[in-house]
Amino acid sequence: MDNQSLLEHIKTKHLSEIIDAYEEYQYLNVIIKPEFIRNIISYLRDDPNLKFEMLVDLVSIDYSKYPEKKLGRFGLVYHMKSLTHNHRVAIRVFLPEENPEIDSIHDLYKNANWLEREAWDQMGIRFRNHPNLKRILNHKDFVGHPLRKDYPIDRRQWLSEPDDLMDEMEKRLKEKGIILRRG
């Protein structure tokens, strides 16, 4: 399916939720309103003509020093790919500077769990209803969000003892039906 018919497909159901759509490097970008992200993503995943089974990546961008004026300071890009129909789309969302929040899609795509944790860790975007929104790349004593443009690049933060990852491990074991006895 080419990009034009792809966009038509999305527009038939979700016309009011789309702000803008454009093609760049033969790649369809759709800018939508952030409150409808779950509708759009679940529609893209479940519609038989679209069938985007794969969330390739979830990227957060800080536009605060960008020459163009954008709709908000932070951008989130959901790169989607369909394995059956072999087409791609990028869903873009803009979030405001104060309290950037959006609904989590961890129950639609499993890998969104860690990708959202990374976006929270590095850029400080909150995801509502995320099961375990904690840092994933930086250590636990880290203060601030280092990929924001206003983070001073030479501010270094010590860690005195390594992270204990047992809380995540126990959660995973509980999902698999194994109960860990301490002591």
């Binding site: 250590h139 280092p146 983070y151 690049i153 501010r155 933060q157 860690l159 003892e161 390594p162």
Partner: protein, 173 residues
């Protein structure tokens, strides 16, 4: 085949030396390195252990992955602040006497990772005996560092050359 019984009155050949010298000679020629490999320098170190450069010519081929069994810590690769407490713990668990080689520019000074997460030199947390420059260093440089460590073991009283002062980084506690 005649078996000679040992006669204590018989003169045996002998040499005299100091006890420290014998110990140092033994330590020097049987270094057991522990590679703390976190990045590409570890691959380079594998090249040093391989048959082409053959670190076992210097008696240091027994690479141990346990701090209890090793006396030479080779930090090969970038050390981030997240990794620092683990490196410190490994160093503390090694038994005396122990020596440290900081291999490559990342471990020595942070290299070109002048950013928020990389430690600007492992000498902020553990003492270092020999630094190796290069990104990555040639295997000959690593062999040279091992020879430097051997010299240091042999002559423990010689002072290391004075280092230039490093500007302390800015920390937020």
């Amino acid at each position: 085949m005649g078996v000679k019984t040992y006669n204590p009155n018989e003169q045996l050949p002998y040499i005299t030396t100091r006890r420290e010298a014998v110990l140092a000679w033994g330590r020097k020629n049987s270094l057991w390195p522990m590679p703390f490999g976190t990045a590409c320098c570890a691959i380079e170190f594998m090249g040093v252990v391989s048959s082409v450069f053959d670190i076992s010519r210097f008696g240091a081929e027994l690479v141990r992955f346990s701090p209890r069994q090793s006396d030479l810590l080779i930090v090969a690769g970038t050390i981030t602040y997240k990794m620092a407490p683990i490196l410190k713990q490994i160093y503390d668990q090694m038994s005396e006497p122990k020596w440290v080689i900081s291999m490559g520019v990342c471990a020595s000074s942070g290299g070109f990772y002048n950013n928020y997460c990389t430690m600007q030199g492992i000498d902020h947390i553990i003492p270092v005996d020999v630094y190796i420059a290069g990104c990555p260093p040639r295997p000959e440089a690593i062999l040279d560092a091992v020879m430097k460590i051997q010299e240091k073991i042999e002559n423990p009283k010689t002072k290391p050359p004075a280092q230039f002062k490093v500007k302390e980084p800015k920390f937020d506690y």
